[in-house]
Structure formats: structure tokens, C-alpha cells
């Protein structure tokens, strides 16, 4: 067994141990399992929310994006920042409502806010459709990392099964607590590694950061700025705004809000989280360093740039450490997604659709039963899904963004929106996203009469705009009916 493999195996076992140990001293009721009994302090909530930024997508994808596309990668840094600013005002009222009504998931939030179980089921279906491809992406990344860092000793399919088994075990035992404990280890490790790589590689290969960027600019003019067409400045603006709105709509991120023990945590985190994101900068530096040193990676292989450069630079044991950090970037978000997806299936789809009067105990038991089921489905998709999964993933972010209007309106002191309006808006938004993604349409194709600059606007905006229009119109039309029903509820 190589030293790299030994280190990866040791860290994986430690993650399993820690994930199981996290349960210690807590009996796992539904509220404990899904939202940690709403008892997490600043540090845990911070790490769970930051967990969203440091997934395999950013570790491999961030460097790969910089390597393959150049300047457009900057958008990752921008959207999170704007999302955190919004979170200062958005999350405290969400948390307050969730605490009062003992909400454990995002569809549950909708069910209570709009007093509609069917809206909850709709949101749960949208959520699961967005979450499964996200989990598949984490597993895919895990497979790539382990097979590369073990120098091919472990095939990626074996790594995927092992990784899925590890998260399944500790999620079943400890729920969100397992994710929280492991995110501490993950963030420390990733922090150290990324800072080191991002500083060392440019100095080692180019003599410094400035020299590196000068060399890239000379070799590939235009690579470091936004191009005229395609991923242009307009694309940047529209994508940053759209993804900033969608950021907290991911059900597992939304769910991490419920774990907090008081609302001031969110306001405090809004100060620090933008800075914490700057670590991504060093991931970009790695990708840029690889651009001239290990050229030639094409298509999906650009995600391997970080590892290709590391293999060319370091001893096997250190490649093992990088691999271990990479494994954790897949396991921790993977475990959060798994907890969330299982909760959605049990609490919102089963209780919302099949058996309205199911007790919390039944739902908690069922949620845990769903963990291995979801994991196996995700593994099978990973191994046999092929290209369709990529299309699904592109849709995922746009899907959850469609929930934004209904969430924001529900936070107003007097919510004018109705359940019918929210449902119709979400259905229309999701349908437009699905249609435009499947047929690969762009704004330029749909509206060829627009000036060139506007043709690069993110297509997701069309979906969101139609969603808002339908949401407002249907809400306006269903006003009196909703009021009549509300007064009927009150007279009960």
C-alpha cells in the first residue's frame, strides 16, 4: 500500500469514527437528527454554511474552471459575497419562524408559511430533483480524487462505493451532527492545503504571483479578463445576481439555518463569511498555475488540473494529504445532502402526501431508512448516469432559485402572496428551466433582436422573471378566496 493510499484511508476512517462519535449523549429524535436540536453555536453554523463553498465542486471545479476558462471563474468569489450580505436580513426571520413552528426542512417551511401541504410536496419534489445530481457530483469527484491520488490502486467505482458507505453509516447514526463534526476537520485541512498550494505553486513555477499572471497574459492574451462574447461581463453580472439569490435556497443550506441556537449568529457570520471565501482565491491560483504547466486537459478533464500539477510537483505522501482533504470535501457536503434528501422524503413527501398523521418517531425512523436508499440511487446514477446527469446538475441551481420569490414574500410582515400563486410561480419557473436546459437555449437564440451585450444574460433570468410574473398575477387573482379561507380557519 502506497503512503498516499494509507493517508487517505486513515482520514476516511477517522471521518467515520468522528461521524459516529458525534451522536454521543444525544438521543436521536427527528429534531436532533435533522437540525441538531437547534442548539448549534456560531462555529458549527458557520462551518455548515461555509460547507457549501468548499465542496469538491470548488476544490476540483474551481481550479479546473480557472485552468480551462480563465477569468469567468471570478464569479464564484462574487456571488457568495452578495449572498452573505442578503443573509444578514433574510436568515433571522426564517430562523425565528422555523423555531416557533418547529420546522425541520425547507418544504416544511413552505407548508407552514402558506398553510398548504401540497405546496410542501411540490417544493420537496423540486428539492430532491436538484439534490440527487448534486450528490452524484460529490461522489463523482470523490472517485476521481481517490483513483488519482492512489495512483490508480483504487478504481474510482470502488472509491465511490466506499465513500457512499461511510457517509451512509454516520448519517444514519448521527444525522446533521456527524456533518458538523466532520466539517471542522475538513475545513482545517482544506484551509491549510489550499493556502499552501496557492502560495507555493506560483512561487515554485513562476517566481511569484505577479510573474505568473504576467506569463499567462503574455502566453494567452485575453485569458485573464472577461471576453467580448459568451462568458462576457453581462454573463458575469446576470450569473452573479442569479446565483446570489439561489445560494440559500439549496435545501441543505436552508436546513443548516435551523440548526442555530440564536438569530444573532447569522448577522455575525455575515461579517466573517465573505472573508472566509477569499480562500477560493488560492484555489484559482492553483488552476492558473496549472494552465501553463500541465496544458492540454480538455472537456471534463480540466477538473483534474489541480491533481495533475500536484502529482508532477510533490512526493506521494503529500499527494495523499491533498487526496484526503479532497475526500472530505466530498464526504461532508455529501452527508448534508443525504440527511436533507432523506428528511424531505420522510417528512415532506411521505407525511405530506401519504400519511398526514404520521408521528415524529415514525418520520424519524423512516428518514433513516431512506438514507441508504438515496445513497444507492446516487451511486448507481454516478456509475451509470452518463451525460444526462450533467444536464440535471446545471438545472439544479436554477431549480432551487425558483423558490426565492415565494420565500422572500413569505417573510414580509403581511404576506400578500397566496399558496396558489407560489405553486404556479414555482411550476412555471421550473418548467422554463427544464425546457431551456434540455433544448440548450440561450437568450441570444430566443431573442435575436436584442443588442449583443444582452444576449449573454443568463437564461435563468427568463425563468425567474416568468416565475415572478405568474406568482404576482395568480396571487392577485386568488386574494379574496385566500382571505375567505383564512377567516374560516380562524373561526375554527
Amino acid at each position: 500500500m502506497s503512503s498516499a493510499l494509507a493517508i487517505i484511508a486513515a482520514v476516511t476512517l477517522f471521518a467515520l469514527y468522528l461521524g459516529i462519535r458525534a451522536r454521543h449523549g444525544h438521543d436521536m429524535s427527528l429534531e436532533q437528527w435533522t437540525v441538531g436540536g437547534r442548539s448549534f453555536g456560531t462555529a458549527f453554523v458557520f462551518l455548515l454554511m461555509a460547507g457549501e463553498i468548499y465542496t469538491t465542486f470548488t476544490f476540483l471545479g474551481g481550479s479546473g474552471f480557472a485552468y480551462g476558462k480563465g477569468a469567468p471563474v471570478y464569479y464564484i468569489l462574487a456571488y457568495g459575497t452578495l449572498a452573505y450580505i442578503l443573509s444578514y436580513w433574510m436568515l433571522p426571520p426564517v430562523w425565528r419562524f422555523a423555531k416557533t413552528h418547529r420546522v425541520v426542512s425547507q418544504p416544511h417551511f413552505f407548508t407552514r408559511k402558506y398553510e398548504s401541504a401540497s405546496l410542501g410536496v411540490l417544493v420537496a419534489v423540486v428539492d430532491v430533483a436538484a439534490l440527487i445530481p448534486y450528490l452524484v457530483l460529490q461522489l463523482k469527484g470523490l472517485g476521481i480524487i481517490v483513483s488519482t491520488a492512489s495512483y490508480g490502486a483504487i478504481p474510482s467505482s470502488a472509491a465511490i462505493w466506499i465513500g457512499a458507505a461511510v457517509v451512509t453509516i454516520y448519517v444514519t447514526v448521527s444525522g446533521v451532527r456527524g456533518s458538523a463534526w466532520n466539517s471542522v476537520v475538513k475545513d482545517l485541512l482544506i484551509l491549510g492545503i489550499v493556502l499552501f498550494l496557492g502560495i507555493y505553486l506560483p512561487i515554485h513555477y513562476y517566481g511569484g504571483l505577479g510573474q505568473m499572471f504576467h506569463a499567462i497574459d503574455a502566453a494567452r492574451p485575453g485569458f485573464l479578463t472577461f471576453p467580448e462574447k459568451g462568458s462576457s461581463v453581462t454573463w458575469f453580472q446576470s450569473t452573479v445576481l442569479l446565483t446570489a439569490l439561489g445560494f440559500f435556497m439549496w435545501p441543505h443550506t436552508f436546513g443548516s439555518v435551523f440548526t442555530a441556537k440564536d438569530e444573532r449568529i447569522f448577522r455575525r457570520n455575515a461579517i466573517v463569511l465573505p472573508l472566509y471565501q477569499l480562500i477560493l482565491l488560492f484555489v484559482f491560483f492553483v488552476g492558473f498555475a496549472a494552465a501553463l504547466k500541465v496544458p492540454g486537459l480538455k472537456g471534463g478533464d480540466i477538473d483534474l488540473s489541480l491533481f495533475k500539477l500536484s502529482l508532477a510537483t510533490f512526493d506521494p505522501w503529500f499527494v495523499g494529504v491533498i487526496g484526503a482533504a479532497g475526500v472530505l470535501t466530498a464526504l461532508v457536503p455529501g452527508s448534508m445532502i443525504l440527511t436533507t434528501a432523506s428528511t424531505l422524503l420522510a417528512n415532506d413527501i411521505y407525511r405530506g402526501l401519504v400519511k398526514r398523521d404520521a408521528s415524529d418517531e415514525t418520520v424519524a425512523r423512516l428518514a433513516r431508512f431512506f438514507v441508504p436508499v438515496v445513497a444507492v440511487v446516487a451511486v448507481l446514477f454516478t456509475l451509470h448516469g452518463g451525460e444526462t446527469i450533467v444536464a440535471l446538475l446545471l438545472m439544479g441551481y436554477s431549480f432551487v432559485t425558483q423558490l426565492f420569490p415565494a420565500v422572500i414574500c413569505s417573510l414580509a410582515p403581511r404576506n400578500r402572496a397566496t399558496r396558489q400563486g407560489a405553486s404556479c410561480g414555482i411550476v412555471v419557473g421550473v418548467a422554463v428551466v427544464a425546457a431551456t436546459t434540455l433544448f440548450k437555449l440561450s437568450v441570444g437564440q430566443l431573442m435575436p433582436f436584442l443588442p449583443d451585450a444582452l444576449k449573454d444574460v443568463n437564461i435563468g433570468f427568463i425563468a425567474l422573471a416568468l416565475n415572478v410574473v405568474v406568482f404576482v398575477v395568480v396571487s392577485a387573482l386568488t386574494q379574496p378566496q385566500a382571505r375567505a379561507e383564512q377567516s374560516r380557519v380562524h373561526t375554527h
Binding site: A71, Y74, L77, A78, T81, L82, Y84, I85, Y88, P92, P93, R96, G208, L209, G210, M212, F213, H214, D217, L224, T225, F226, V233, F236, Q237, V240, L241, D262, E263, R264, R267, R268, A270, I271, V272, P274, L275, Q277, L278, L281, F284, P413
Partner: protein, 70 residues
């Protein structure tokens, strides 16, 4: 409240500012100018949210839990 308007600045800086700074030279702290511009706004966002937190009456001692609605 006026201090909340501060939070609009990063949106303006990042979303509206980038078209005007989309160039490589001069490098700032070794980074292409447009990247340095975005990084500057990330840091400023943190500073701004720190100020907002300070001035926000919702965070005063003793008012825990009760949000001041505006």
C-alpha cells in the same frame, strides 16, 4: 434606516463596477486588475457588514430575540 444602505454598495461595486475595470494591467498585489477589484469588494463587504452589525439596534444587548421591524 440609513446605515442599511451601506449594504447596497457591494452590489453596485461588483455588479455595475466590473464592466469598467475589465483589464489585466496594472496588477494589484500580483493579481489581474479585475480580480483585484472583486477581491477588494469582498473585503469591503466584510467591513460594511461589520459596521451594519454595530449600528443595527437588533444587536444591542438585552434585545436578544426581538427583531426591530422597520
Amino acid at each position: 434606516m440609513s446605515f442599511r444602505l451601506l449594504a447596497v454598495l457591494p452590489f453596485i461595486g461588483i455588479l455595475l463596477g466590473v464592466p469598467f475595470v475589465n483589464r489585466v494591467e496594472p496588477l494589484v498585489l500580483g493579481m489581474p486588475f479585475v480580480l483585484a477589484w472583486i477581491v477588494m469588494w469582498v473585503v469591503l463587504s466584510s467591513v460594511i457588514m461589520g459596521l451594519v452589525y454595530r449600528f443595527d439596534p437588533a444587536n444591542r444587548q438585552g434585545s436578544s430575540g426581538e427583531e426591530v421591524r422597520s
